[in-house]
């Protein structure tokens, strides 16, 4: 499992716009860099990030090799109801990881 650092408000008012930040440990090897022997290293990137809120996709981004190592992404969602918010990263070599947080809306 890759280390993840998420900033998600745990409690918020209904209708408020909340900013979410997500950082994940990943090399994001571009596929354009030679190794010490001069051979190109195979691409190994995360190519999709998806945020689901109460089961529905509310944000989704396609990453290219131009996203920095240890990808950082920030975006906003509207707090509509209490429920789970999940974050899924998918990448090369079968990489997939999902983290879930719970938002309480008052």
């Amino acid at each position: 499992m890759a280390r993840v650092l998420l900033r998600v408000p745990t409690m918020t008012e209904k209708g408020s716009v909340i900013e979410i930040r997500a950082l994940i440990q990943h090399v994001m090897e571009t596929g354009y860099r030679p190794n010490a022997e001069g051979v190109l290293q195979a691409r190994d990137i995360i190519w999709r990030f998806t945020c689901r809120y109460d089961g529905e996709v509310v944000f989704n981004a396609a990453f290219s090799p131009a996203i920095a190592a240890n990808p950082f992404i920030a975006f906003t969602i509207i707090a509509t109801q209490s429920g789970p918010v999940s974050f899924t990263w998918e990448g090369d070599n079968g990489f997939t990881q999902t983290e879930t947080r719970h938002i309480t809306v008052t």
Binding site: V17, I18, Y32, A68, P71, F72, I73, A74, T76
Partner: protein, 145 residues
């Protein structure tokens, strides 16, 4: 050649950079065409924030914000960020909806060298908006052996 080698060596890196080639420009144009599907794209509504001068191209903070109330009637569907001189023109493409609250994203990106960045947005009415920013990278990525 009237400029001495010493002067050239002492010149700031930015002055030594070659201009983007026609191939670079065509690749960026093709990526934008792919994003818009051939629809016209206008300058405006999109704000791409990035430092005009960066010390290292391996992790450059950028953010994109689009002027829109993000209601069902008026919202951004997609934001794309593209570059001129990396090995690939695509950086990130993100999908939004009324539940996003704001048409905003921030991330850290790689820039192989000094170049242009373009942020483009597709609105729910099918119109396309963009902003282009030039960035100078003072230190090439990866210099330690």
């Amino acid at each position: 050649m009237t400029v001495s080698r010493r002067v050239l060596l002492a010149a700031p890196g930015a002055l030594l950079l070659s201009a983007p080639t026609r191939a670079d420009q065509q690749r960026l144009a093709a990526a934008l065409l792919d994003f818009t599907g051939g629809q016209p794209m206008r300058e405006g509504r999109v704000r791409l924030d990035v430092s005009p001068l960066v010390e290292n191209g391996n992790a450059v903070p950028i953010s994109v914000m689009v002027e829109t109330p993000m209601t069902t009637a008026d919202h951004v569907r997609r934001i794309g960020v593209f570059n001129e001189r990396n090995p690939q023109p695509n950086v990130i493409t993100a999908q939004f909806g009324p539940r996003s609250g704001r048409a905003f994203l921030a991330t850290h990106i790689r820039l192989a060298t000094s170049q242009a960045l373009v942020a483009a947005a597709e609105m729910n009415d099918g119109s396309f908006w963009s902003q282009r920013v030039e960035v100078i990278v003072t230190l090439a990525a990866c210099i330690e052996g």
